[in-house]
């Protein structure tokens, strides 16, 4: 019997379910390790060497090195865990969220001040805007 996943038709959205969590386990646990100041320092000193201590896929490591958060999410990352990379880089949550939208930091901030991204046209993939 297949599982009920009614959330695959929401545009620009990846739901972090048990299956994604399974794929992203080591990626997310790597992120979690950055909560310790010592680990942040070691990661900053040599990112590749630090990542190689984790049994992550090469794709996951590359996505982290490129700070490509959309790619990280596609590979099982969860935003609350990925936020630890942003914290290490000195980025705010708004800067991180904005980085996934294709907007500049200023454009994203202005969109939020203007009331946020509208729901119209953003409910279903392929929906007419």
């Amino acid at each position: 019997m297949s599982l009920d996943k009614p959330y695959t038709d929401v545009p620009g959205t990846t739901i972090f379910d048990a299956d994604m969590s399974r794929q992203g386990y080591h990626l997310n646990q790597f992120c979690m390790s950055l909560m310790k100041a010592d680990n942040r320092a070691r990661f900053k000193a040599n990112e590749r060497a630090y990542l190689d201590e984790w049994p992550m896929s090469e794709e996951q490591k590359k996505a982290v090195l490129a700070r490509d958060l959309n790619r990280c999410i596609a590979l099982g990352g969860n935003i609350y865990f990925l936020a630890k990379i942003g914290a290490t880089d000195g980025k705010s949550f708004q800067q991180m969220a904005g980085s996934m939208t294709g907007l500049s930091e200023e454009e994203y901030r202005n969109m939020m001040v203007g009331g946020g991204r509208p729901i119209e046209g953003n409910r279903y993939i392929g929906e007419k805007k």
């Binding site: 009614p6 959330y7 959205t13 972090f16 909560m35 935003i79 705010s92 996934m100 939020m112 991204r117």
Partner: protein
Amino acid sequence: MARISASVYTSHVPAVGAALDLGKTGEPYWQAVFKGYDFSKQWLKDQKPDVIFLVYNDHANAFSLDIIPTFAIGTAPEFAVADEGWGPRPVPKVIGHPRLAAHIAQSVIQDDFDLTIVNKMDVDHGLTVPLSLMCGQPQAWPCPVIPFAVNVVQYPVPSGRRCYMLGKAIRKAIESYDEPLNVQIWGTGGMSHQLQGPRAGLINKEWDQAFLDRLIAEPEKLAAMPHIDYVREAGSEGIELVMWLIARGAMNDVNGGKPPTVRHRFYHVPASNTAVGHLILENN
């Protein structure tokens, strides 16, 4: 016996904590948020609760992917403030109420809700930002707090209905406690927001306002709303709103009593990526 006197609902946006901690509260951007809580701060002082039962979620701070409890009750004498990666917030540690927490755990588990009991846990912005919004910047929080963490990070999260029924079981537990405590129950998180992917920044004001209306007037029907409606309409992180139904399920009117008084209601967009919603309901 202990009783639940009121429920409080509020977003717990991390940037709100940062604004307070970095002294930005005077900026117009943040003034627009904090002014919604001026009434609430005075109200809380006047109410003098003995204990706050605070429903929130951890955001990959106390719980990694090693262990993912759906419902976790904090039974410790105290809880440290988590370092979420930016350093711990400079706020007081949280004093628990181990005796009442253990009593609630015993009662609620016997009522078929399989809680995880947590004797050691740091608490993150999900818990401390609501306290900051409601109490300002005191040297110590005004009363003990029982942290109640709900998994809303990894799907499937508990359903609205499950949360609502859990609220009823928590109420029953509190009402059978043998000290005459004035207990408040708080539900936190939301409102509409999405922090991930190309749809990040989604806000749905109409949906949020309708959620507030229905939470007040028809919570049982609201509890039947499926997860997908939250995700589609209020953003992937808008799902946090299921936690508000735990607090709502603990109120008098849905357990054979009178309707609550809506003491305060506030809504504002934006705080960082998020719509801020806030409600105070007093039992009659």
